[in-house]
């Protein structure tokens, strides 16, 4: 019996990287887990199989698809009472050059998609009398980053969403918090390295040099914080942002 036995989690953006780590960790703690990604894939199916969960592909930017996904997860696994909003779309560009449609795609996916996801899950959490929402923001949502206006704005918006829903839902035992990961070793890093024209190893080293702990984060580091914030024994921690970044910011929200 893990500390999350009897609970049902929905993890968005779980085909790889951090989302897959969250799903594995929550399952290891005893939860039934629906794993979502934008499209169906062998990786998503394999992960679901591995952890005894359910693959639920759906584009989080599509409100109807999100609601249908939550329905499907709850029909198969029981009412979802843990939501981990992990999905994200990242696109970097000089501010004036950023294509308008692409700029909005970042916002609509990251901020809008999380909004729909929580909307879809709330009636189920209310029916169960309690819920936990863990929103994955970003260090860049706290401190900003050049060429990342859309991404940083979307992630800062998630922090405000966390604070507001933290206040709005706590009396119903639905506890909303966020995590702001620092640089973490996920497939996105290879994409960033390619875009910058450097090797992945060089990218690791460059980032690690800015982190007091001397390394970048592992997906499991972030997943551990997800499990901590999904703990139903605690309600006093609410509306907060937990930075998991090896000391790079030392608490700036």
């Amino acid at each position: 019996m893990g500390r999350l036995s009897g609970h049902v989690a929905f993890v968005s953006g779980a085909a790889q990287g951090m989302g897959a780590a969250h799903a594995r960790r929550l399952a290891a703690e005893g939860a039934l887990v629906a794993v979502n990604d934008r499209v169906a894939s062998p990786a998503l199916d394999e992960l679901a199989h591995e952890i005894g969960g359910l693959p639920v592909p759906a584009d989080m930017a599509d409100r109807e698809a999100v609601f249908a996904g939550l329905d499907r997860a709850s029909e198969h696994l029981g009412d979802v009472d843990i939501v981990v909003a992990n999905h994200a779309y990242m696109s970097m560009s000089d501010f004036l050059d950023h294509d308008e449609d692409d700029w909005w795609r970042v916002i609509d996916t990251n901020l809008g998609g999380t909004f729909w996801l929580i909307q879809a899950a709330l009636p189920r959490m209310r029916r169960r009398g309690a819920g936990r929402v863990v929103i994955i923001s970003s260090e860049w949502g706290q401190i900003g980053w050049p060429q990342a206006t859309a991404y940083s704005a979307s992630k800062a918006g998630l922090i405000s969403l966390t604070k507001t829903l933290g206040r709005e839902l706590a009396r119903e035992h639905i506890i909303v918090n966020a995590i702001a990961p620092g640089v973490t070793d996920t497939p996105q890093l290879q994409v960033d390295a390619d875009a910058a024209g450097v090797t992945l190893a060089a990218m690791h080293e460059e980032y690690a040099a800015t982190i007091p702990l001397g390394r970048i984060g592992a997906p499991e580091d972030i997943a551990a914080a997800v499990a901590f914030l999904a703990d139903f024994r605690m309600e006093a921690l609410v509306g907060q942002v937990v930075s998991v970044n090896g000391g790079s910011t030392r608490t700036r929200a």
Binding site: A170, A224, A227, R233, A236, G246, T251
Partner: protein
């Protein structure tokens, strides 16, 4: 296998006691430090945390018996609501000596060993009032704010050597530090809190234990189980 050893100051009551109980439940041998005897502890030492030499001596003796201290929690503290003009020098000094000095004394006693072994972790208990401030809380908030500055700086200094420093910042918690007639217990105040009640000591203990053994990539971080008092 021998038990891992954790020092907890203020272990005799309130938040410190809950932390000692949680760590003990998780298999730690707890070295409790307080002015009086502390339950849930493998060893309970009666010493004033403002006494640097006394704390160092207690740690040395306990380590001979239990082994090296791998985690330390500074939870000793006292609280008083006093308007600024009524805070006299002795009240001001005592507030700083207990909260900031107590943390410094513990750190001086356990940090060298942690650095030498290349691992270890310290959690300071600060306060929501250090972040949001409060009416007539100036000396308490000053001391707890100083704790935050200490934690952030020390975290940057010793993380490269494998030692993690973090803090928890509880909101008003249901402990003996809050008198029965404390304004923090008034229904009118509690109704302003998002969760509608005081923080329970065991909730602070869960956050503290998580910083010690579940969150290895948190450094210089402040976790705020504050009932939503400061969001």
């Amino acid at each position: 296998m021998s038990q891992r050893v954790a020092l907890v100051s203020g272990a005799a009551s309130g938040i410190g006691r809950a932390i000692a109980a949680e760590l003990s439940d998780r298999g730690w041998a707890v070295l409790g430090v307080d002015l009086g005897p502390a339950p849930h502890c493998a060893i309970s030492v009666e010493v004033d945390v403002t006494d640097f030499a006394g704390v160092a001596r207690a740690v040395r003796q306990a380590e001979q018996q239990l082994g090296p201290v791998e985690a330390a929690v500074s939870a000793a503290g006292h609280y008083a609501i006093v308007p600024i003009s009524e805070i006299d020098p002795s009240a001001w000094l005592r507030m700083l000596r207990v909260h900031l000095g107590g943390l410094a004394a513990i750190t001086r006693a356990v940090l060298p060993g942690m650095v030498q072994r290349g691992s270890g972790t310290i959690v300071a208990v600060t306060s929501e009032l250090a972040i949001g401030g409060g009416d007539s809380d100036s000396h308490y908030a000053s001391a707890k704010g100083a704790v935050i500055g200490f934690v952030r700086s020390l975290a940057a200094e010793v993380a490269p050597q494998g030692v993690r420093i973090n803090a928890v910042a509880p909101g008003p918690t249901d402990t003996p530090l809050l008198a029965a007639d404390s304004p923090w217990r008034a229904p009118e105040y509690l109704s302003t809190l998002p969760i509608g009640r005081l923080v329970r000591p065991d909730e602070v203990a869960l956050c503290t234990a998580a910083l010690i053994e579940e969150l290895p990539f948190c450094v210089g971080e402040i976790i705020s189980p504050n009932a939503g008092a400061v969001i």
